[in-house]
């Protein structure tokens, strides 16, 4: 397994489980025995994750990425000793930072939920490879991460515009759209991964899906009001009534 396979969500999961430090070891840079150089991907992920940790108030030094070759057992031992010392010095996760256990859990849960979104926004950077590891100074900035979180988008289906055509629901990769025939669709914000597939899928003539940024998502329309009343039918009914 290449170090580039290590997923952002794995690191977050470890911290969510109360692990005090996470160490990722990779091959030396530019010595890839294949031609993938995935250790750069790992580095990118780690740099991003460190900034996210900062953002939620965790000490980024709880995460470390080091590169070494298979013959450097001594170096490995040295680095691990050093890391363990460091983490011990930082104290238990959360406590060392002065964040309550519940608050931390909540924050980590929130970030974990946003992993798909974070990956989408940073797709290009996560897969890039700069020539020198030194060039990575300031690869991700705190401002950038703050903005990432403040600008988080949500998607909302306007009940007045939704025609219950099922297109968005069928396409949704997270099965986050509650839908049925003649039932106004509703996005389950808990499940939604903010990929925008529904936004793309909704036919332009309906434009029922809206992208919301920086303000709260309106509450979903109550279940009993979801049955759709077709305008044409309504008119027919009105016409029928008038005949009566």
């Amino acid at each position: 397994m290449c170090s580039g396979r290590v997923d952002l969500k794995y690191v977050l999961r470890a911290f969510s489980n109360g692990i005090d430090g996470v160490f990722i070891g990779g091959c030396r840079f530019n010595e890839c025995n294949y031609s993938t150089h995935g250790n750069y991907h790992a580095l990118n992920m780690v740099l991003l994750c460190k900034k996210i940790m900062e953002h939620i108030g965790l000490n980024p030094e709880r995460l470390r990425f080091e590169v070494m070759s298979g013959s450097e057992g001594n170096l490995f031992a040295e680095v691990v000793d050093d890391f363990v010392k460091k983490v011990k010095g930082l104290g238990p996760l959360g406590k060392g930072e002065g964040i309550g256990g519940n608050e931390l859990k909540l924050k980590l849960g929130e970030v974990t939920k946003l992993v798909p979104y974070i990956k989408m926004v940073n797709q290009e950077k996560l897969g890039s490879r700069l020539e020198n590891p030194e060039e990575y100074d300031g690869f991700f900035t705190s401002d950038e991460i703050d903005k990432l979180f403040s600008d988080v988008v949500s998607y909302y289906i306007d009940p007045d515009k939704c025609q219950a055509c099922m297109l968005c629901a069928r396409r949704c990769p997270a099965e986050a759209i509650i839908s049925a025939k003649n039932q106004i669709h509703v996005i389950d914000q808990e499940k939604c991964i903010k990929c925008g597939t529904c936004f793309e899928a909704c036919p332009p003539r309906f434009s029922a899906v809206t992208k919301i940024s920086g303000e709260p998502v309106p509450p979903p329309i109550p279940e009993e009001q979801r049955t759709i009343v077709r305008k044409s039918k309504e008119k027919m009914r009105e016409a029928a009534l008038s005949i009566d």
């Binding site: 030396r28 530019n30 010595e31 025995n33 070759s69 298979g70 013959s71």
Partner: protein, 76 residues
């Protein structure tokens, strides 16, 4: 051509005779990087190889090198 045929029979004869296990296709003398590569290629191409090394292990001098140029990869 006749030679070849008789040899083929010879081999089949030998294969039938389980007592004689010392029949191979190729002997590689020297288990350094070159000998190892040759043995692997021959074995993968369907030949039975004896790799003879006078030291207690294969590996040769390359196993003593720390890194190799120009990529500074490790060598073992």
């Amino acid at each position: 051509m006749e030679n070849v045929i008789s040899l083929k029979e010879n081999i089949q004869q030998l294969r039938k005779n389980p007592g004689d296990g010392n029949f191979g296709d190729v002997m590689v003398v020297g288990g350094g990087i070159s000998g190892i590569q040759a043995s692997l290629d021959l074995a993968a191409a369907g030949f039975k190889v004896y790799l003879v090394e006078k030291a207690p292990t294969i590996g040769g001098h390359m196993a003593q090198l720390d890194k190799t140029f120009p990529t500074n990869d490790c060598s073992t």
